[in-house]
Symmetry: C2
Subunit: 362 residues, 2 copies
C-alpha cells in the first residue's frame, strides 16, 4: 500500500490540518492526524472539537485504508524532507516516509481512537472565498478578548436573502462589513474568534460552499472541508446604538491619522486607557497625550464639515488604531458627541463601518 | 539650547545604547540615558553595569550641557518620528522633540543619578572590526548556558604578540577561531557571552581600538566607545583535550550534513540527549535516530580516509548542528574514537575548529 505525492502539496495540505490539532489534549485521540487512502485521493483529517478540517490530495492508490499517527511529528518529518517527491508506504503498524536519501518509519496508531467526524452531504449555499475572507478580516479585531458576555468573543454572520454581513463588538467598539450578495442561506450565526482566524487561513480564491446544521457551519471547496462549531446565544441589537446625527465630521487619510495617533500615544498613560485627546476646529485636528514621562501633540489638516464649529473628545488610542487598520486611503470620521459613539467609514469601500465609544473625560 | 540631527542617525546611534539599558532596575539611574551636548557633538551614554556604551553624533550646538531621561520612552518617541530631521530643545527640566507636525516634551531627570562612566585615554591596541566580529561569532554558540563552572559562560580571547584567538567551551564541545594577526595587546581575557552578543552588534567595519585595564576591555572607533567588564577566573587548558590522531576522517559538505542530521533528529528522543547515531564505512555515512514515535535514517556519500575501515558513534544532534552553523562548503570531520572527541574543521577557512564529544553508547 504505497502512494507518491509531491512534497509541497503534502506539506501545504498538512499545514492546514496540523495547525488546529492540539499538541497535548486530555483526549489523546485529538492529537492524532487521520489519513484516509482511497482509489484516487489521500485525505487528511484533524479536529480540536471546535473546528474539524479535512484536506485532500490527488493520489493514485491500489488499495484503501484508514490510518492515524501523531500529527505534529508527521508534520515535522514532512517539513524537513529533502526531495521534491515523497513516497508513503502504509505497512503493518508503521508508515514509511521516503524522500531522496532519507527514510523514516513512523509508528501508526489505531484510527478508531480519533473522534469520528462527518461532513454534510449537501451544501445549500455558496460565497466567493475572497469576499467571505474580506468580510471576516475587516471585523475580527473588534471581538472581545475576555468579556462577561461570552457571545462578544465571536463574529456574527448575518446571512439574509439579500446581503451577508459580518459584525463584531466588545461593547466599547463595533465593526461591520457588508457583502451585497446573498449566500443562499438565511440565518444569524456567531463564529468563535479563534475559528474565524482558521477560516481566514483556509480560504483562498474560487467559490466556497456553505451549509448549516445542528449548531455547526460547514465550508467546502475542491481542496478542503471544514465544520465550525457555532456559539450559542445571540448578539444584542447593535443597530440602535449606531448614531445617525453628527454635528462634526472630518475626512482624513487613514494611514496619516493612524501614524499620528500611534506617535502621540507613545506618551499616553498605559494604565489610564492609553488615552489620546482630540480637538477639531477650523479644519485642524489636534491630537495630544500626556503621561508620567511627558506630553506630546500633533496637528493634522483635515476637511471638516458639520453644524458645530468644534468638538473635543478622548479615545483609547488602540481602539482608533485597530479600527483604522483594515482601511486605506481617505476615511470619514463622524462625531455624534463628546461621550456618544464616533463612526468611521472608508470613502473608497463603503462596505466597512467601525464605531468607537469615546472615553469619559473630566 | 537646541540641536538638529537627522532622524536616521539619531535612531541608529540610540539603538546601540538603548539595547543594553535595562527597562527596570533596582538602581533607577541604570534605566536612564545620558545625553551630553558639546560644541560639535551630541553624545549618548548607557550602561547595564556589565557593559557601558557611548555613541556620538556630529551636531552643532551653541552651548554645552548634560541631561538624562528614561531611555526606552525616548527611543520609542525617536522611532516613531514622522520627519527626516529632528529638533531637540533642551529646556528647563524638559526635552522638546520636534519633527514635522509632531512635537513632544519629555521630562528630564537629574543626570547625576546616572552612574558615572569613564573611558580610557589611551588605546594600546587595534584590530579590524570585521576580523574580531568573525572570530567572536564563530565560537559564541559553544559557551555554556548554565554550568557549575561560571567561566564557561564566557568567550576567551587569547591576545598574543603573533595571534588573536577566540575560544568557547561548555565541557561537551569546544570551538576556536584564529586570527593570524596581533592586536598589540598581550593577555588572556574572558568576555561574558551576553556582552559578546552586544560587541558583535556594535562592530561593523574599519578599525577598532582596544585597551585593557582593571578587569575591563575597552573598544573604540569614531562612532562608539564601550567598556566591557571581564569575567574573573581562567579557562582550563583545553589544548590537551583536542585529539591529534584520527583513525577515521571524512570530507562532506557542511549544509548537506547539517540538513541530514536535522532531518534524522526529528525522530530522536529529546529526553535522551537528542541522540543521533553515525556509522561510517566504505565512503558512506549512515545517520540514524530512534525515539518513541519511530525511527529515521539517511545515508550520505562522503570522501573517507584513515587507517580504520569503519567507526560507529553517537552525538547530541544539536551539538553537531551548532558546530556546523558557522561553516559552509566542504568540511573535514575527524574521529579520534567512539568515546573520544571528534574534530570538525572547514576546508576553505582553516581558522575555525570545533570539537564535539560523542555520547556514551551501549
Amino acid at each position: 500500500m504505497n502512494v507518491q505525492v509531491p512534497k509541497k502539496i503534502l506539506a501545504d495540505s498538512l499545514s492546514h490540518v496540523e495547525r488546529i490539532i492540539p499538541a497535548r489534549s486530555s483526549n489523546p485521540g485529538l492529537s492524532l492526524l487521520k489519513l484516509t487512502l482511497s482509489e484516487d485521493a489521500l485525505t487528511l483529517n484533524g479536529s480540536d472539537m471546535n473546528i474539524d478540517i479535512e484536506t485532500s490530495i490527488q493520489a493514485d492508490s491500489t488499495t484503501e485504508g484508514t490510518f492515524a499517527l501523531p500529527a505534529h511529528v508527521f508534520a515535522q518529518v514532512v517539513k524537513s524532507l529533502p526531495g521534491e517527491l515523497v513516497e508513503l508506504v502504509f505497512g503493518d503498524g508503521e508508515l514509511g516516509v521516503m524522500s531522496a536519501s532519507y527514510a523514516t518509519k513512523l509508528q501508526l496508531v489505531d484510527p478508531s481512537s480519533v473522534p469520528p467526524v462527518t461532513f454534510p452531504e449537501l451544501y445549500e449555499g455558496s460565497l466567493e472565498a475572497a469576499d467571505l475572507m474580506r468580510a471576516l478580516s475587516h471585523v475580527r479585531y473588534a471581538t472581545a478578548v475576555a468579556e462577561y458576555q461570552a457571545i462578544f468573543r465571536g463574529v456574527k454572520l448575518e446571512l439574509s436573502d439579500s446581503r451577508t454581513r459580518a459584525v463584531a463588538t466588545d461593547g466599547f467598539r463595533l465593526a461591520y462589513y457588508n457583502l451585497e450578495i446573498a449566500s443562499g442561506l438565511e440565518a444569524d450565526i456567531v463564529i468563535p474568534a479563534r475559528s474565524v482566524d482558521e477560516i481566514i487561513k483556509l480560504l483562498s480564491d474560487g467559490e466556497v460552499k456553505v451549509a448549516l446544521s445542528d449548531g455547526q457551519l460547514s465550508l467546502s471547496n475542491g481542496h478542503f472541508r471544514a465544520n465550525i462549531k457555532l456559539m450559542e446565544g445571540s448578539f444584542p441589537d447593535y443597530n440602535r446604538v449606531i448614531p445617525n446625527t453628527f454635528p462634526v465630521s472630518i475626512t482624513v487619510n487613514a494611514e496619516t491619522l493612524s501614524q499620528a495617533v500611534a506617535r502621540v500615544a507613545v506618551m499616553a498613560d498605559k494604565t489610564a486607557n492609553n488615552r489620546v485627546d482630540m480637538f477639531i476646529r477650523e479644519g485642524t485636528l489636534q491630537i495630544t497625550a500626556e503621561g508620567s514621562y511627558g506630553r506630546s501633540q500633533e496637528a493634522l489638516e483635515v476637511a471638516q464639515e458639520g453644524t458645530d464649529p468644534e468638538i473635543a473628545l478622548a479615545y483609547n488610542a488602540k481602539y482608533l488604531i485597530d479600527a483604522l487598520a483594515p482601511t486605506s486611503g481617505d476615511l470619514q470620521l463622524r462625531f455624534s458627541g463628546t461621550s456618544s459613539p464616533s463612526v468611521l467609514s472608508s470613502v473608497k469601500d463603503p462596505n466597512y463601518l467601525a464605531m468607537v465609544v469615546p472615553l469619559r473625560t473630566g
